[in-house]
């Protein structure tokens, strides 16, 4: 929407030409500066500038939906109203059905708690046909730390869903739907997720698991604030990927211990403490 062309918005030809002459081609160009500055730049009266901006804004604004129609659309179009069941009763109840589709879900925990196991279980249940609570589709599993074990997945399948797994050829079919990627570097990872964007719809990918996000950075050299920024683009990309293709994306993260004294506070908290 930000890149919508001003030329196609139905503005008065005179203004349209002025915008083009000043190299203001997309809505982003026009709206990235305060109105007064725009007026100075295009050398047109305030009233005309305001009405041009109003028209551009109306054309660029996102559409309005009532919350009710959002809900109804989810119920109608998405399997299980857009949730992937975890098969943990309490968790599924709290999450209103399971891991939500169309958003990024983060699994956080200390080492050894079972994050990778959880991911493998999710991957398995997503590959199942709908009748067994699955999403009946492929799963892309990005395994950065080489924690994925197919033997373990099949064992999970045999124990948790015996009715399905004992059927002839089912194990092969289900396991065959889980595609495992082992990126060797951040650049490699970036490439892979960019490729995914196009192939998700074509290949019926219904779940993306990234285990783990932090391990991607451990190989890279930068420190502190730059480290955070490195993944910033990827997170945004994954977020929009999830929303666009309406699939759940599960990401794991590690915890780091924090000293109580280290916890940051607001300035008013510091002054309140000093009073006591």
């Amino acid at each position: 929407m930000a890149n919508k062309l001003i030329g196609e918005m139905g503005l008065h030809t005179k203004i349209s030409n002025i915008f083009a002459a000043r190299n203001i081609i997309t809505a982003k160009d026009a709206l990235s500066m305060p109105e007064f500055e725009l007026m100075e730049l295009i050398d047109v009266g305030m009233k005309e500038t305001k009405s041009a901006v109003a028209l551009i804004s109306e054309a660029t604004s996102p559409p309005c939906q009532s919350a009710r129609s959002l809900l109804e659309r989810k119920v109608e179009n998405e399997h299980l109203s857009g949730h992937l069941p975890t098969h943990l009763k309490g968790l599924d109840e709290t999450l209103c059905g399971g891991i939500p589709c169309g958003v990024l879900t983060e699994l956080v925990g200390p080492p050894g708690i079972g994050k990778s196991q959880f991911c493998m279980k999710l991957a398995l249940s997503a590959s199942f046909p709908a009748a067994y609570g699955g999403l009946d589709g492929r799963v892309v599993y990005i395994d950065v730390e080489s924690k994925f074990s197919s033997r373990r997945v099949i064992e999970m399948g045999l124990e948790s869903f015996p009715e399905v797994f004992h059927l002839k050829g089912m194990a092969q079919e289900m396991a065959g739907r889980i595609l495992v990627l082992r990126p060797t570097s951040l650049a490699n990872f970036t490439e892979s997720i960019q490729e995914l964007k196009d192939s998700i719809l074509q290949n019926q990918v219904k779940l993306l698991v990234i285990d783990s996000m932090t391990a991607l950075l451990s190989g890279e050299n930068k420190q502190g604030a730059q480290r955070q920024h490195q993944l910033g683009w990827h997170i945004s990309f994954l977020k929009s990927l999830a929303e666009f293709s309406r699939i759940p994306i599960v990401v794991t993260n590690q915890v780091r211990s924090q000293n109580r004294d280290e916890t940051s506070q607001y300035s008013f908290q510091v002054s309140l403490q000093q009073l006591h």
């Binding site: 007026m39 305030m46 109003a54 604004s61 939906q65 009710r68 109203s81």
Partner: protein, 346 residues
């Protein structure tokens, strides 16, 4: 006042000044046709200029029994207005108390806090509570929810709406003294129908939407709250030029204030948190910088105190600084009791 201060395009201004019209008094004393001829502009343009000049020169032509300056109101009249201003309850009476009854309409309130403290929860709660009908002490209005992060969970909104309807039904039981919950006109799905949801994906869309809100609200006059969740998100990542960002944000804040005053609605802006290095240590502060922090009328900071959630009035023209605790329950925002605290990591 000088002519170059008028809001005109630079070429017309240039023509005026080179024709010798440097002060407002020189412009207002001449007729539009003379001005057009002297400055080499069209009659229409001259007429516009004269109109602008007369507006800016202030009113020496004041009405005797009206105020001295056009558009001013005296403080006594405003007191009556301020006291009768409706407020939107947060469903947590402790929080309402420190807010002077709730979130005030005609004001811009900024609410900031770390991730997970409950900003989106407050946003959803307010968009439901604004719809509480007048007979229950509410505003009976509609809500606009601008989602920049994708945090809005429609199932959660339904949960909160259902709890709200149940509370209203219980209330009618008390009111009519038969202590039996009575059927209420409003249904949870109706509440969802009155939340206008916009999903914004870039700062361009955010600016465009704020510009467009004037027209949208004129066509939907019963909107009484505009919630932006969060105003920070797109401006933090994608805007490289910080000076430009400050200017664009200030303009946006002004537009929100105008909307609040014009339509008598509440604007609630949810903000994220950043760490600043001051006084020898890292401290938390709301994002978007110092200039932005001047833009909002009221500021509420949500924070953790041990394992409990607290809200602190950081900035307000009329309320004292105070803290109150609140909790987020399955029914929405409520007063805290000792049992509902943050779950400790095992």
């Amino acid at each position: 006042m000088e002519a170059w201060r008028l809001a005109l395009s630079s070429s017309i201004r240039g023509k005026l000044i080179s024709a010798g019209y440097t002060s407002l008094s020189s412009i207002s004393s001449v007729s539009s046709s003379d001005l057009a001829r002297d400055a080499n502009i069209t009659e229409d343009e001259a007429f516009e200029i004269l109109k602008l000049a007369n507006q800016s020169s202030g009113s020496n032509s004041c009405n005797g029994n009206r105020s001295l300056i056009n558009g001013a109101k005296n403080a006594w009249d405003m007191l009556h207005e301020e006291e009768s201003l409706p407020r939107i309850t947060t469903s947590c009476s402790d929080l309402d108390n420190i807010l002077g009854g709730g979130i005030s309409c005609r004001d811009v309130t900024e609410i900031g806090g770390v991730p997970g403290i409950g900003k989106t929860q407050i946003g959803i709660q307010l968009s439901v509570n604004v719809q509480i009908p007048r007979e229950f002490g509410g505003l009976g209005g509609k809500a606009i929810y601008i989602d920049t992060e994708g945090s809005f969970m429609v199932e959660r909104a339904l949960q909160i709406a259902e709890a709200c309807v149940e509370d209203m039904e219980e209330y009618t039981g008390y009111m009519h003294k038969h202590f039996k919950a009575n059927q209420v006109q409003m249904k949870p799905k109706d509440i969802l129908e009155n939340i206008f949801y916009f999903r914004v994906c870039s700062y361009t869309e955010q600016i465009a939407l704020v510009n467009h809100l004037d027209k949208f609200i004129s066509e939907n006059k019963d909107v009484k709250v505009v919630i932006v969740d969060s105003i920070t998100f797109h401006f933090r990542q994608d805007f490289d030029d910080l000076v430009q960002r400050t200017r664009v944000l200030s303009e946006m804040a002004l537009k929100f204030m105008k909307l609040a005053k014009k339509f008598s609605l509440a604007v609630v802006l949810l903000n994220q948190v950043t760490t600043k290095y001051t006084e020898g240590s890292f401290q938390l502060a709301l994002a978007l910088g110092d200039s932005w922090s001047h833009s909002c009328t009221n500021r509420v900071i949500l924070y953790w105190n041990g394992d409990e959630r607290y809200a602190y009035i950081d900035k307000s023209p009329s309320l004292p600084s105070a803290s109150a605790s609140y909790t987020v329950t399955s029914r929405g925002l409520r007063n805290s009791s000792s049992s509902s605290k943050r779950v400790k990591m095992m």
